[in-house]
């Protein structure tokens, strides 16, 4: 549904390309987790995907249309929740009335439901300016989900949320997700969102280190205490002996540990690449 075709991009010539010849294909019906180190280009990639930045070469297509043209039919079907944002001095109700007409599938009923999930329901006359940062984020996200755009991209959505709200956020995603939608969550807080993802995309220095579904990951990599003869892709020392990410044996299925997977992809990119590009 969203195709990134051989894009190159740099913020300035001296620093060199942040992306060069970078391609990635995202399909509807999936919740993607976009992981990468600080400075790996996650936010930049998001801005390129939503048409806010222009690649030096290459293109990003949404339903076959270049997002950089910012056509109304594209912009009304993509919603971006950036990591930081400002909200105007308006009530929630005024904000919704002002912004919802841009999104043909916006649903007031959904808005109410999502505000309820965040325990922000009830008073739509609250002024956005009187809200805390976390509360602003909740209203913004409730609106984002209520637009029912087919593409919803979130940059560090759980940053600034308190502990109960992280669970509420997961509920928002699992409630709002449908087969025709594509969600992408860029984050460092992998523990917050691991269970709600279908798909993991790890990028580093303009490369895709891993782009795989959970079922695929589970059949290929196991996360467990190391045994003799294991050739681990990543080792984590623990008080109970070494744990690691290892090639899964036939029929072995363990819970996917995104932190270990991420570290394995960074430390052992060739081995991970080989494991996921060749058929088992």
């Amino acid at each position: 549904m969203l195709q990134i075709n051989q894009i190159s991009f740099s913020y300035n010539k001296k620093a060199g390309d942040l992306f060069s010849d970078f391609s990635l294909n995202l399909e509807a019906g999936n919740v993607y987790g976009l992981l990468g180190k600080n400075g790996a280009g996650k936010s930049t990639l998001i801005y390129l995907m939503t048409g806010l930045l222009t690649p030096k070469s290459g293109e990003v297509l949404f339903d076959g249309e270049n997002v950089r043209r910012r056509l109304p039919k594209t912009m009304s079907d993509i919603y971006l929740v950036p990591e930081e944002f400002d909200l105007p001095r308006l009530s929630i109700k005024q904000y919704v009335n002002l912004n919802s007409p841009f999104y043909p599938r916006f649903s007031m009923e959904d808005m109410q439901r999502y505000l309820d999930i965040f325990e922000m329901g009830g008073d739509m006359s609250l002024n956005l300016h009187a809200l805390s940062m976390g509360q602003k984020k909740k209203v913004f996200m409730a609106f984002a989900f209520a637009t029912n755009t087919r593409v919803l991209i979130m940059d560090e959505p759980t940053n600034g949320l308190d502990i109960p709200s992280k669970s509420q956020f997961r509920k928002l995603v699992t409630t709002g997700m449908t087969d025709d939608k594509l969600m992408l969550i860029s984050t460092h807080q992998v523990r917050d969102i691991s269970d709600i993802l279908d798909h993991v995309t790890i990028i580093d220095q303009s490369r895709v280190l891993l782009n795989a579904g959970f079922a695929d990951i589970m059949s290929k990599v196991a996360f467990r205490p190391l045994q003799e003869g294991d050739q681990p892709l990543f080792v984590l020392q623990s008080p109970f002996g070494p744990l690691g990410a290892v090639r899964a044996q036939e029929g072995e299925e363990t819970k996917v540990d995104l932190e270990m997977l991420f570290n394995a992809a960074l430390q052992n990119p060739e081995a991970i690449n080989q494991l996921f590009t060749t058929q088992k």
């Binding site: 699992t174 363990t254 819970k255």
Partner: protein, 120 residues
Amino acid sequence: MNFKDNKAIYLQIADRIGDQILSGSLSPEGKVPSVRELAAEIEVNANTVARTYDHLQQSGIIFTKRGLGYFVSPDAKEVIVSLRRDQLMKGEMDYFLGQLKAVGITPVELQGLYQDYLNK
């Protein structure tokens, strides 16, 4: 829902549904929540829940009625008990017996302990 680290999540969800069937909160031939409902309730990806349902269906614990969703099989309890028995015998029992041997508990003592447990 809180998950343990040592087992695939889709299997942990299957265990939870198994518990609900054994405890009677899901009854034989009763409707199982839809994939999306359960996913939202336990805050887990819908494809993971779909995988759980596939697994339960293959084991004969639930079945589909076309267009109506998933239902608990009439003999689900028996199936779960027999599967769990197999699992226990293959896995934990071996470890447990090893521990008994290591600390020197005799078969007679074990019998007494088990009897006491059943009488509680």
